[in-house]
């Protein structure tokens, strides 16, 4: 699969080249790489928010467009993107409203979701009354409210401070263990990718391609001690090596 922006024009940019990736159901996969490596573009291709120039995305044998129309994707972006005229619980209800669920269903489901992200008592607050981490938890609750099978996360913790970030990572793993979703997680933080994922897809830039795929066999379930586990450090080193090799290969290539 490949993606070219501004195809056929002078300012064409080859964002992704010869991408070949298979993700198993229930897997937690991170897309890791420097800015401009096309990791977000790849996520948007999977979510059918943009379409590939060549090749195709298949989700359980269906096209990405079919999967999107079948409401199989829950999206979480770097910005929480809560609608600030809606209260927290009405934000979580938004996808359910669009999908035509009844009021009782919506309210029950919203309660359940807010409980999952531990914000039960904040349903009637407005987004601007919450901290950045809380807002992002609401965004996760909203993404999971309609029980999509795949969770697509585009640097969801990128705007948070380090402490909040680590707490949110634990939270996300706890949620993932409960919901058994397939998660595709874009990040440019090596420890974040290693801590969360069952596999890390390392990408390199110009043109964006996959430099390597690394299995993270750090014992599950991950918890506070994981960050001090020797295997965790080994994997971080392995990912870093892979990133550096990706870079060197780029520099050997023709000037872009």
């Amino acid at each position: 699969m490949s993606k070219v922006f501004n195809q056929g024009r002078d300012n064409r940019v080859s964002a992704l080249e010869s991408i070949n990736l298979e993700i198993d159901s229930g897997e937690f996969v991170s897309l890791l790489g420097p800015s401009g490596c096309g990791k977000s573009t790849l996520l948007r291709l999977i979510g059918d928010l943009t379409s590939p120039s060549t090749g195709a995305v298949l989700v359980n044998g269906k096209s990405a467009a079919q999967a999107r129309r079948g409401r199989e994707y829950g999206m979480v972006f770097q910005q929480a993107t809560l609608y600030d005229w809606r209260t927290v619980s009405r934000n979580v209800q938004l996808p359910l409203e669009i999908m035509g669920h009844s009021r009782e269903q919506r309210e029950a489901r919203t309660q359940e979701m807010l409980k999952l992200v531990q914000l039960e008592s904040f349903g009637r607050h407005y987004p601007w009354q919450l901290s950045g981490g809380m807002q992002q938890r609401v965004a996760i609750a909203r993404a999971l409210a309609f029980q999509p099978s795949i969770l697509l996360m585009d640097e969801p913790f990128g705007a948070l401070d380090e402490m909040t970030r680590e707490r949110m990572q634990m939270e996300l793993l706890r949620i993932w263990e409960q919901t058994k979703n397939t998660v595709v997680f874009v990040t440019h933080s090596i420890p974040e990718a290693v801590f969360l994922s069952s596999r890390v897809v390392v990408m390199s830039a110009r043109p964006g391609r996959i430099a390597g795929i690394i299995n993270i066999d750090v014992p599950q379930p991950r918890n506070f001690e994981t960050r001090e586990h020797p295997r965790f450090f080994e994997k971080i080193t392995e990912v870093r090596e892979c990133l550096r090799q990706g870079e060197t290969n780029t520099h050997k290539g023709p000037p872009s």
Binding site: R68, Q79, L94, I98
Partner: protein, 304 residues
């Protein structure tokens, strides 16, 4: 107050408290400014009379004569409200002004409502179809550069040919002045959601209509209300100007015209009428602002 306390108390109580304090502070600052303006008026008069109309310590003339003809005392203006407007007339000026204001307001409200609806629809159409915006927007802009005074008589004449009640034409003139800010701000507001907010909707496979109703329209409301507040005052001006060529006798336009004819014999009456016309415009804008408070949640209002 710490964040934790705010959360525990529940925001309702705190917010209501803060709102009251804010309202009080606003009322106080409004009165203060009003007093200040009155002080400037009377101070200028007193100073000017002491220096016989000259800028102190110079031989330069003051721009406005400080005598009672050019600048009646504020109590003369106020007092004129309670006296019959004409010798032997029945109604005191206040009653005449109130009646005229009510009449003009009806025209302005019709113009405001009509203009806002048209303005909103144009904005919504432009927001959806770029082609319409590109091709029609220049004319919309041009429509506002044509002086109202040139158009008003034409609308009155056309209305006359169609046998409309005269005040309809006035409302149309008022609408003409009203729709433009609403169109511009509706367009801006509908386009205000960022790409991510729209992509979120796409990821739910939401229809165009759902995106409009659940995202673009609520996002546009603060922008639209900002325009409506401008339009509310503009609609009153439109109605007053529109009354002049239409020969309507019952509105503020005629009252202002009459008292400006008889300025020499009673300047305070013209001043009182001007204050009345301004008050009508302000009152209308305040009503729209109150509607906004009711409809748009607090954290989202643009102009506060």
């Amino acid at each position: 107050m710490t964040v934790a306390q705010t959360v525990e108390l529940g925001l309702d109580e705190n917010q209501r408290d803060a709102q009251w304090r804010l309202a009080l502070r606003r009322a106080a600052s409004f009165l203060l400014i009003l007093l200040l303006l009155c002080g400037v008026w009377e101070g200028y008069k007193a100073l000017g009379q002491a220096t016989r109309g000259k800028v102190p310590f110079t031989s330069l003339k003051l721009p406005i004569r400080p005598d009672d003809k050019s600048m009646p005392h504020l109590w003369t203006i106020g007092g004129s409200l309670l006296q019959p407007a004409r010798r032997g007339g029945e109604d005191i000026l206040l009653v005449i002004l109130l009646k005229a204001a009510l009449f003009t307001w009806r025209e302005a409200v019709m113009g405001f409502v009509g203009g806002s609806v048209i303005g909103f629809l144009l904005g919504a159409i432009f927001g959806r179809f770029l082609l319409f915006e590109r091709s029609l927007m220049p004319y919309i802009v041009a429509s506002q550069t044509v002086p109202l005074l040139a158009i008003a008589p034409m609308i009155v004449i056309w209305g006359g040919r169609l046998n409309w009640p005269a005040w309809w034409s006035v409302s149309i003139i008022s609408a003409y002045l009203t729709f433009f800010p609403v169109t511009i701000n509706t367009l801006r507001g509908l386009r205000s959601p960022n790409l991510t907010a729209v992509e979120l909707m796409r990821s739910y496979a939401a229809s165009e209509m759902q995106i409009l109703l659940k995202l673009r329209l609520p996002a546009a409301l603060p922008y639209i209300f900002t325009a409506l507040k401008v339009s509310a005052t503009a609609s009153v001006i439109g109605a007053i100007v529109g009354e002049l060529p239409s020969g309507i006798q019952d509105g503020l336009g005629r009252v202002l015209l009459t008292f400006s004819y008889y300025y020499i014999s009673g300047p305070e009456k013209l001043y009182a009428s001007i204050v009345g016309a301004a008050a009508l415009g302000i009152l209308f804008a305040v009503i729209v602002a109150l509607a906004e408070r009711w409809i748009v949640p607090e954290g989202r209002r643009l102009s506060e």
